[in-house]
Structure formats: structure tokens, C-alpha cells
């Protein structure tokens, strides 16, 4: 081959190898970049007044007077919105009346039972009241004004009937009158036109602002507050102002998405100017403020990780990782020492080595099943522990999982200690054991710590082995080695597959994964720090 071609080949080769390393760096950025970018929004974001309200309620954080002040400021604008909606809602949405009727009826029957009315008398009077309730519900549903008025007139005939006299049920009549007044000047055809659209707007407004102060508190914490983050609030604002709709252009073609402004949808009604109003005063309603939510790393979360942070998950991951390390470190180092120092190349050694390699290839899910069958159901009960999944079982399983990594790295490290060290020590008359502990091991420690780093990250990130042995999706902070714990790895998997909430809080989903990555990098940094320190000390001697 010509000299030139050889040289060009050589150059190309150098470039290609450099490119492969560059590719790796690109991959690293591609994997971590988007994740960290999105995950950081779990901690750095613009919060609304709802967020500060939640922090005050749940964690007693922030200045109460200041937050109350903010709430009352935003309340002014909110009241206007509520007022508008309520004014328009009358006559269109009769759920309110239906609920009232239901409630009156229930109170009535409770009252009867309380007064000791029993048997036929009870059922007779209840049946009568139920008849009124049905009629009224029919009136609320009806779109025919004449029919409604007739029903109400019919009901009013029963005023003073002995079966319901002096009970709660007299409220039926007041309600009927109220309803009559409402629909008096109301065009019932509007109901058909706007009922669904109004319901949509109302639910969006509720998502944005949270339940009204006079409403009963919802059962779940996630429903007690409106949009806590500005990005979510903005998204909701978009949905409130623009209605998205899929429209058929021509048959046999896919439909096309269209945006309709809601103020044109509600043109000519009281709601028309509500939407520009919300848009204009959006800042005053939400009062956005930049927040550094560092408590994300210590807070507990509400169900489904809707609000709150990843405190228990971090703790659980740390406990599992550290415990697994405590188990695997001596085991790995001793095994490596034996393989290097004591064993000669024979069948036994080869079998051991083959087993270690096989262990490295066993799928993690098989480790999980093995951990359940062996550690949970046999090993721990054998020593008198409970036969339930627990931290101990999970960390033992993880220790077995990471044993080959540990052994291989330690072996490599011990092997790379120069023979001269050992020979000098042995020559001075130290025993083999003493030589190993005092000379070889310290010299090999930096390398062994590399092994620790590798196993740490493997342990902290695994989901499958702890799925059946000691992780749980919901649970309190672990109290003992025999309780279960939440972990970051299982938590992020759980958000991804379990609940519809996961789709609503992508920042928490990413936040958890990024926390896991950061935690591992921190643990690595600690190990690297120690490695460097030991390395320096060794050099110094």
C-alpha cells in the first residue's frame, strides 16, 4: 500500500475513534439533557397563590398574614368570575336544584325516623315525599315552560298536607317557588344550547381556581386546590379561552382540529365578557411568583404523587442502597481476595468464576422472584423474622444481584497491586493474611471503591428485584428493617404505569427520575472523593 493511503487511513481511523467517544458524549447529553430540563421544573417553577395556600395548609410554610392578604386580593377577581357564572347558570344547570331536592328528601326521612315513626306510616309518608321529589326532578329536567309551571302548580297544591306538615319537607315548596322565579324570564331553549358548554367552562374554572370557599372540602387533597403552577394554569387558561373541536371537512377524510373562541360561543350572553376578563386579570387571579421548592427533596407526597415531593423515596433508596452495600462489600472483597490470593487455577476456581459470570447475566426479574421465594419465604423466617416482604429481604436480594460487579471490580483492583508491594511485605516476615490486610487491601482500595460506585448505581436504579421483596407504592417512612419502603425507582415506574394522575403531573414524573439520577451521581461523587483521597495518601507514603 502506498504511504499516502496508509496515512490517510490512519487519520481516518483516529477521527472515527474520536467520533465514537464524541457520540457517547452526545448520547449522554441526549439522555440526561431533556430529562434534567423537564425534571428541574419540579423544583424551580412559577407558583400561583394556590401553591402557597397549599404549603400553608399542609406544612405551615410561609407567612400567614401575607398569604391571606394575597388570597383576599385574588378573591376580588374570583368573586366576579363566580358571580358571572352563577348568574348565567341559573336555569341552565339545574344540578343545584336536584341536589337540594335530594338533600331535603334525605333530611325529611331522617327526621321521620328520629321522631320514632315506623312501619306503614313511615313508608306511606316517605312514598308521598318521594312522589314530590320525582315531580320536581322532572320539572328541573323539562325544557317545556308550560309543563314546568303545571308541575309546580300541582306540587303547590300539597302545601299543608298532613303527611309532610311541620317537617323539613315544607322546604320543597320554597324551592319550587324559587325555581319558578328563575325560569320566569328565561329562554329554556338556551338550556339545550349551553348546558354542556357551561359545564365544561365550570369544570375548567374549578381546575384553575380550586373549589370555592363556601363549598364543602373535597375528599382528596389533590382536589382541594386549583392550579398550583403557572405552566399548568396557563394551559388551563388556553383551554378556557379557546375551545378545541374536531370538524369534518369532507366525508372519508380525517377530521381537522379547529379552535373556537369561547366568547363567540357564548356571544350575546352574560358570559361573553367573562373570557376577556379572565385573560386580562390572569396575573391578578393567580399572582405568579418564582419559587425554589427545595422542600421537594424532603416532603411527603399526596396519593398518586400529585402534590408534594420525594422525601420518603429518597430515604428508602438510601437505606436500601447502603444496606445492600453493607452486605455486599465484605462478601465481594473476601471473594475477590480468595480468587486472587489463595486459589490456584483449577476446576474449583473455574466453576466459581463461571458462577459469578452467570450471576451477572441473570435477568433482574428472576432475582426478584428468587428474592421472594428464598429471602422472604424461607431465609428470614428461618431466623425468626416475619415472612413478609421487607427492607432486609430487598437489600439482601440487591446484594446478591450486585455481587458479581463487586467481585469483578475488587479482583481487578487487587490484581493490579504491584507484586513488589506484596513481596516486600512477605519478605519482612509478615503473614499472608497480614500482608493482605495491611498492604494489598489499602493499595487496592481505590479500585474497590470503583466497584462500589458501579454497584451503587445498579442497586439504586433497579425496580424488578425489589418489586416482590420490599418496595411499596404507598406507605409511610420505614420504621424498622422489617417494614416496606418506597423507593425512587419503583416510584417513578409506578407514576408511569398506574394512575391517570401521572399524565397530569409530568414534572413530578421527571422530577423523580432526575432525583434518582442526581442521588446516584452524588453517591458516586462521594465514592470518587474518597477514592481520590486514598489514592493521594497512598502516593504520599
Amino acid at each position: 500500500m502506498k504511504y499516502n493511503t496508509r496515512h490517510i487511513l490512519n487519520k481516518i481511523f483516529t477521527v472515527v475513534t474520536a467520533a465514537s467517544v464524541a457520540l457517547m458524549i452526545v448520547i449522554l447529553i441526549a439522555v440526561l439533557g431533556p430529562m434534567i430540563w423537564r425534571g428541574s421544573s419540579a423544583v424551580f417553577f412559577k407558583s400561583t397563590v394556590e401553591f402557597r395556600k397549599m404549603q400553608l395548609d399542609l406544612h405551615r410554610r410561609g407567612d400567614k398574614t401575607e398569604i391571606d392578604d394575597e388570597i383576599s386580593q385574588s378573591e376580588v377577581y374570583r368573586d366576579f368570575i363566580y358571580h358571572k357564572i352563577d348568574a348565567f347558570k341559573k336555569g341552565i344547570n339545574t344540578d343545584y336544584y336536584t341536589d337540594r331536592v335530594k338533600k331535603i328528601y334525605r333530611q325529611f326521612s331522617k327526621e321521620l325516623q328520629y321522631n320514632g315513626i315506623k312501619g306503614d306510616e313511615l313508608s306511606r309518608r316517605r312514598k308521598f315525599a318521594r312522589g314530590i321529589r320525582r315531580d320536581m326532578e322532572k320539572a328541573f329536567r323539562s325544557l317545556n315552560k308550560a309543563e314546568i309551571l303545571q308541575i309546580i302548580d300541582n306540587i303547590n297544591k300539597f302545601k299543608g298536607d298532613e303527611r309532610i306538615a311541620n317537617t323539613k319537607a315544607v322546604e320543597f315548596f320554597a324551592l319550587a317557588d324559587e325555581y319558578r322565579k328563575t325560569i320566569k324570564n328565561f329562554d329554556l331553549s338556551k338550556r339545550q344550547q349551553y348546558a354542556q358548554a357551561l359545564e365544561e367552562v365550570e369544570s375548567l374554572v374549578k381546575q384553575l381556581l380550586g373549589p370555592r370557599s363556601n363549598e364543602p372540602l373535597p375528599a382528596m387533597i389533590m382536589d382541594r386546590y386549583g392550579a398550583t403552577r403557572l405552566d399548568l394554569a396557563n394551559e388551563l387558561l388556553g383551554k378556557i379561552i379557546w375551545k378545541r373541536q374536531w370538524v369534518q371537512q369532507s366525508s372519508g377524510k380525517p377530521m381537522i382540529e379547529e379552535k373556537i373562541c369561547r366568547s363567540t360561543q357564548f356571544a350575546g350572553t352574560e358570559l361573553e365578557d367573562l373570557f376577556p376578563y379572565i385573560e386580562e386579570n390572569f396575573d391578578k387571579i393567580t399572582i405568579p411568583r418564582f419559587t425554589f421548592y427545595w422542600q421537594y427533596f424532603i416532603d411527603d407526597s399526596t396519593s398518586g404523587h400529585y402534590f408534594g415531593g420525594v422525601g420518603p423515596e429518597i430515604l428508602g433508596t438510601l437505606i436500601l442502597t447502603v444496606l445492600a452495600m453493607v452486605f455486599v462489600f465484605p462478601l465481594g472483597v473476601i471473594s475477590a481476595a480468595y480468587l486472587v490470593e489463595c486459589a490456584s487455577e483449577n476446576m474449583v476456581l473455574r466453576i466459581i468464576r463461571m458462577c459469578i459470570n452467570t450471576l451477572a447475566g441473570v435477568p433482574s426479574i428472576v432475582f426478584g422472584l428468587f428474592g421472594l421465594a428464598f429471602f422472604v419465604l424461607v431465609f428470614i423466617p428461618f431466623f425468626g423474622g416475619p415472612s413478609k416482604p421487607c427492607i432486609l429481604a430487598a437489600s439482601l436480594t440487591l446484594a446478591v444481584l450486585t455481587l458479581p460487579v463487586m467481585i469483578r471490580a475488587s479482583e481487578e483492583a487487587i490484581r493490579s497491586v504491584p507484586k513488589t508491594y506484596k513481596e516486600a511485605s512477605l519478605g519482612l516476615g509478615a503473614s499472608q493474611f497480614r500482608t493482605f490486610v495491611k498492604v494489598t487491601l489499602p493499595a487496592a482500595l481505590p479500585g474497590i471503591l470503583t466497584g462500589v460506585i458501579l454497584s451503587l448505581s445498579r442497586v439504586a436504579g433497579e425496580t424488578a428485584p425489589i418489586l416482590f421483596t420490599g418496595a411499596c407504592a404507598f406507605g409511610s417512612v420505614p420504621k424498622s428493617l422489617f417494614s416496606q419502603t418506597r423507593t425512587l425507582s419503583y416510584g417513578s415506574y409506578d407514576i408511569a404505569v398506574g394512575d391517570k394522575i401521572g399524565m397530569l403531573v409530568p414534572h413530578n414524573q421527571y422530577g423523580m427520575v432526575v432525583t434518582l439520577v442526581l442521588l446516584i451521581i452524588c453517591l458516586n461523587a462521594i465514592a470518587i472523593f474518597f477514592r481520590a483521597k486514598i489514592f493521594r495518601r497512598l502516593k504520599g507514603h
Binding site: 375528599a219 374536531w246 380525517p254 415472612s387 411499596c472 420504621k479 424498622s480 409506578d494 401521572g502 399524565m503
Partner: protein, 276 residues
């Protein structure tokens, strides 16, 4: 320095180990389905607020593992999206365990398509033909000229089982079906793919996917509760025998009957069993 770390580790372990003896807390362990999981999560949230001394753990590993855990004595309540199979019952009884079902909610499985799809309604037969590979283009059912991408839940999930049993009549699906392993993933796949058809739990319906009428019935709270919608299923909690009245297990298993329980079930996107 090293000693400090070692001491710290030992202390940590000791503290953890002794913690078991120090705090005698009431525990409630729940294992099972990922579908019922969110309901259990939300119930547990309210229970934790109500009874601070109660320690609830929930693990979502699947209905089958829930049943196995109840048999092994690994849990107090098994949450399941299907009823126990014959074999599980037999094994349980032979172990002296008597599984008692509590129906906590109803779930509907909705057939969904991309919102741009003009098709509004399909019959069960058409859906079956699509999943068996007999219909491959939306044109054949009155839609646009577009290849159908079939999304299914993985064959082990309860959602698949409901769909497979009630709609597919246990016929085998075509090979090209793409399997996803969760409701959110099925939702995401349909949302992002123009020609997709899939099925998800009713709680996951939103504006990004379009639910189809099935045999002329729109999936909704009413049609599922009344049983008019063909793809509805109950969700269960199983306990070993009927729990002792007044015990935490009993309170937890009957919480769905309370007004608050109903509200939670509904907020989580399922259909409450009773209508308050």
C-alpha cells in the same frame, strides 16, 4: 474518619432494627392490581389522616400476585381487577383461607380512537374483526383511507382479559397487535397515532382521545352502572374471611360505601357501586 462512617452505619442499622420493637403500630398491607391501586392509594390517604397510628402499605404488582399474597399471608387485603380463578380458590381453601370479595367500584373499558377519526360508532363484530385482522383499513368501516394501528393492553392485564372475554369472545388477536403495558401508555399511543384504535379504562378518557359508541351505547357512568354498556367489570378487594367488624381491614374494605368513599371512587375515574 473511617471509624466515624462505620459507627454511623452501625447506628443507623441499630436504630432501624430497634424501631421495630419501639413502635407497635397497626399495619394494613395491601397487594394487587395496578388498576385498583389508585383507589386504594386515595383511600389510604384519607385513612392516614384519620388514623395517624395506622401504617398502610400498598404494592401494585398485579392481580395474580395479589391473590398469591393473600394465600401466602403476605397481605391483609388483595386488590384485584378480576375475580379469583378456580385454581386460586381451591388453593386458598386447601390452605384454610376463605377469600371474601368486596366490590369497590365498576370500571368500563372504552374503545378509543384518535380524535381526528371521523368514525363515531362501531359494532362489537366490527371491533372484533379489526382486532382479528379482518378489517385493516378505516375505509372499511366508513372512515378515512388510513391503515389501522391496533393497540392492545398486554395479555396478562385485567383490562385485556375483560376485553378479550367480553368483546373478542376469546378469539385470538392478529399478530400485528401492539401491546402496551399500562393504561397511560395505551392512551398516549392512541393520542399520538392517527390511525390507532385501542381500549382504556373509562377513567383515562379525556379530550385527547375519542371514545366510540359500542353497539350504539356510549360509555358513561350511567350506562356502565346499569350494565347497558357491554364492556364493564367490577373491581374487587379480597380479604381472608369477612374481616372482624370494627377492625381496620373492615373499615378499609367498607369505606367505599361511605359518601366520601364514593366521591373518591368517582374522582379517580371509576363508577361507584351505589348511588348516593
Amino acid at each position: 474518619m473511617k471509624r466515624i462512617i462505620v459507627c454511623g452505619l452501625i447506628m443507623l442499622i441499630l436504630v432501624l432494627a430497634t424501631g421495630a420493637i419501639a413502635a407497635e403500630k397497626q399495619t394494613l398491607q395491601i397487594v394487587g392490581s395496578t388498576t385498583v391501586g389508585p383507589i386504594a392509594d386515595a383511600f389510604a390517604e384519607t385513612f392516614n389522616n384519620k388514623y395517624p397510628n395506622l401504617d398502610i402499605t400498598i404494592k401494585k404488582t398485579g392481580s395474580g400476585d395479589g391473590a398469591a399474597a393473600l394465600l401466602d399471608g403476605r397481605c391483609d387485603i388483595a386488590i384485584m381487577s378480576r375475580f379469583m380463578k378456580d385454581k386460586e380458590f381451591k388453593n386458598a381453601v386447601s390452605k384454610g383461607i376463605f377469600p371474601v370479595p368486596h366490590v369497590v367500584a365498576m370500571d368500563g373499558v372504552c374503545v378509543v380512537v384518535h380524535p381526528s377519526n371521523p368514525v363515531k360508532e362501531l359494532t362489537s363484530d366490527q371491533v372484533r374483526d379489526i382486532y382479528m385482522g379482518k378489517i385493516t383499513n378505516w375505509k372499511q368501516v366508513g372512515g378515512a383511507d388510513l391503515k389501522i394501528v391496533i393497540i392492545s393492553r398486554d395479555t396478562s392485564s385485567g383490562t385485556y382479559e375483560t376485553f378479550h372475554k367480553l368483546l373478542m369472545k376469546k378469539k385470538e388477536m392478529v399478530k400485528t397487535v401492539e401491546y402496551v403495558n399500562s393504561n397511560p401508555q395505551a392512551h398516549a399511543r392512541v393520542k399520538t397515532t392517527k390511525g390507532a384504535i385501542g381500549y382504556i379504562g373509562i377513567g383515562f378518557l379525556d379530550a385527547n382521545v375519542k371514545a366510540l359508541k359500542l353497539d350504539g351505547v356510549m360509555p358513561s357512568r350511567e350506562t356502565i352502572a346499569s350494565g347497558t354498556f357491554p364492556l364493564a367489570r367490577p373491581l374487587f378487594m379480597f380479604t381472608n374471611g369477612y374481616p372482624k367488624l370494627g377492625s381496620m381491614t373492615h373499615k378499609f374494605c367498607s369505606f367505599y360505601l361511605s359518601e366520601m368513599g364514593q366521591e373518591i371512587v368517582e374522582a379517580k375515574g371509576f363508577v361507584p357501586v351505589t348511588n348516593y
